[in-house]
Symmetry: C2
């Protein structure tokens, strides 16, 4: 799936990813009125997402749907999550389920079926949460990752494993130094590069990507060098303080190597005075175009 994402990035000249971290509180007042149950919330969130997706699917290659914002509304929220994934895929977007799942082998296998593969019921195979790509956490080592890699290969999907996260205290653990001279995040990066080596596609990137925060340019630059075959999912742009200048180190000479996520900067753009007078979906589109220009200005043309 990483080749498809790269092709779409080149086609649209846009390495952006829109984060549908749709907290109910982000919705315009008129959409929040008279809502009190998880079912009602979930319908409104799905409607909000649909309208955003309709306005951006011709200019953005991918969306990232952060499951935590749906889980907090119970199983009804998960229905909105399911619906959003399907709707976005139906509109031709490549859909990243941001779930950071992790467990031991057999249980990791269940997560993999849930998001990337299929669940078998008496011989009938059905998809649960139909994503194209999934974020995972590699703390448990290879046998917690292997089930995902099997589904990635069988169903043309991708995963992104956490390497260097965008949050302020990520260094508390990830930037400790190992006896071998590497930082923990570098060591995780090396494992991720290794786990992906049998799935390298035609652009030189594998189906096992890495999450590398835009907020840590020094670490990102080291990782880009050490992980030449690893595609990056780059959170932290915009609201979290990462800029296009900071994250351009994640890209190779062809302007390829990652997708840059922005969540609040796009879905809450209608609250930004810069986009006043627009509906939330118009503002989201305008913010996507501004983000694209900003990224292109720093990274340059994609696929050159």
């Amino acid at each position: 799936m990483v080749d498809k994402l790269i092709e779409r990035i080149i086609e649209l000249q846009n390495p952006a990813c829109v984060g549908l971290d749709t907290d109910f509180n982000y919705l315009p007042e008129e959409m929040k009125r008279d809502v009190s149950t998880f079912e009602e919330v979930s319908e409104r969130i799905a409607e909000f997402n649909m309208n955003i997706i309709d306005k951006i699917s011709d200019i953005v290659p991918s969306v990232k749907v952060q499951v935590a914002y749906y889980e907090m509304y119970g199983h009804a929220g998960m229905q909105a999550f399911e619906y959003t994934l399907n709707y976005a895929r139906g509109r031709g977007l490549i859909v990243i389920a941001d779930c950071k799942r992790n467990d031991i082998g057999s249980t990791a296998g269940c997560y993999s079926k849930a998001y990337l593969g299929k669940t078998d019921i008496n011989g009938k195979k059905t998809r649960a949460f139909a994503a194209d790509m999934l974020t995972v956490n590699g703390y448990l080592g290879y046998d917690g990752i292997k089930p995902f890699i099997e589904d990635v290969t069988a169903h043309d999907k991708s995963i992104f494993a956490l390497v260097k996260t965008s949050n302020p205290s990520s260094g508390e653990f990830q930037n400790l130094k190992l006896e071998n001279g590497k930082f923990i995040y570098e060591q995780m990066g090396e494992l991720v590069q290794e786990w992906g080596k049998t799935t390298v596609g035609k652009y030189g990137y594998s189906e096992v990507g890495a999450v590398v925060g835009a907020t840590h340019p020094e670490e990102a630059a080291r990782l880009r060098k050490q992980m030449p075959n690893t595609f990056f999912l780059i959170p932290g742009y915009g609201a979290q303080g990462g800029s296009a200048e900071m994250l351009k180190v994640c890209f190779d000479k062809r302007g390829l190597g990652g997708v840059v996520n922005s969540s609040r900067g796009i879905i809450c753009a209608y609250k930004n005075p810069q986009y006043s007078g627009m509906t939330y979906s118009e503002a989201a589109r305008a913010a996507c175009i501004d983000m694209q220009q900003d990224l292109l200005g720093a990274i340059g043309k994609m696929g050159r």
Copy 2:
């Protein structure tokens, strides 16, 4: 919540936890017949769990519900998960949601609301997946854990962070040595002990526990020494190869310090020739009693 769990462990003289990792394929043939949709699967799983819970709630203090086995059946599966948590709590069991959730601050906050706290909708607060305790992954550092600790304190809950997991390849990452002489799992253990220090209860254990696999007794013994205030959730007993003799190092002189999980060994006990002629719930109860005797034999009386 750790004090309540310890009191119930002493009362029942049982440090066991029953893992409701209820794969549909584990159900007896007659329960699987004529089932083809996620909704039907989820009803049968909930029914199976209810019958097990009814048969064990007077002899076992806690259950651990592994969410991956529900997520793979989509939002309908999550409804069965929700139902199972509520049913078990209604029967007086302390319920551990095994979700290994992890994310940056604001998103970790959503997960925390989903499992430990409450979700606000226009001022009305509702619980989504009502657990007592939740497993988390500390790879992102303190600001990914803080939102959980806030809810733990506000709502009398607990969390368990992954430290040394029970899977065969856990050492690939967790047993690498740091420059400071500690293994990665020890360093994570130290962070976990530190994160919990303001929540130590009357038995000397904090609300921030650690997941420590029964399959790695050497590491478990080191961690017990280094983390005197950290309560352990101990997976890996039974089907994964961990024995009572191997895991007794996790307990202190009072016979306290952890809960030992068994999943397949209990819920699939009806397939074991040892329990032939019993229904699945009778077999689960018999297997719980055998497990209790096995643990008591190795650890000794609890609360002495």
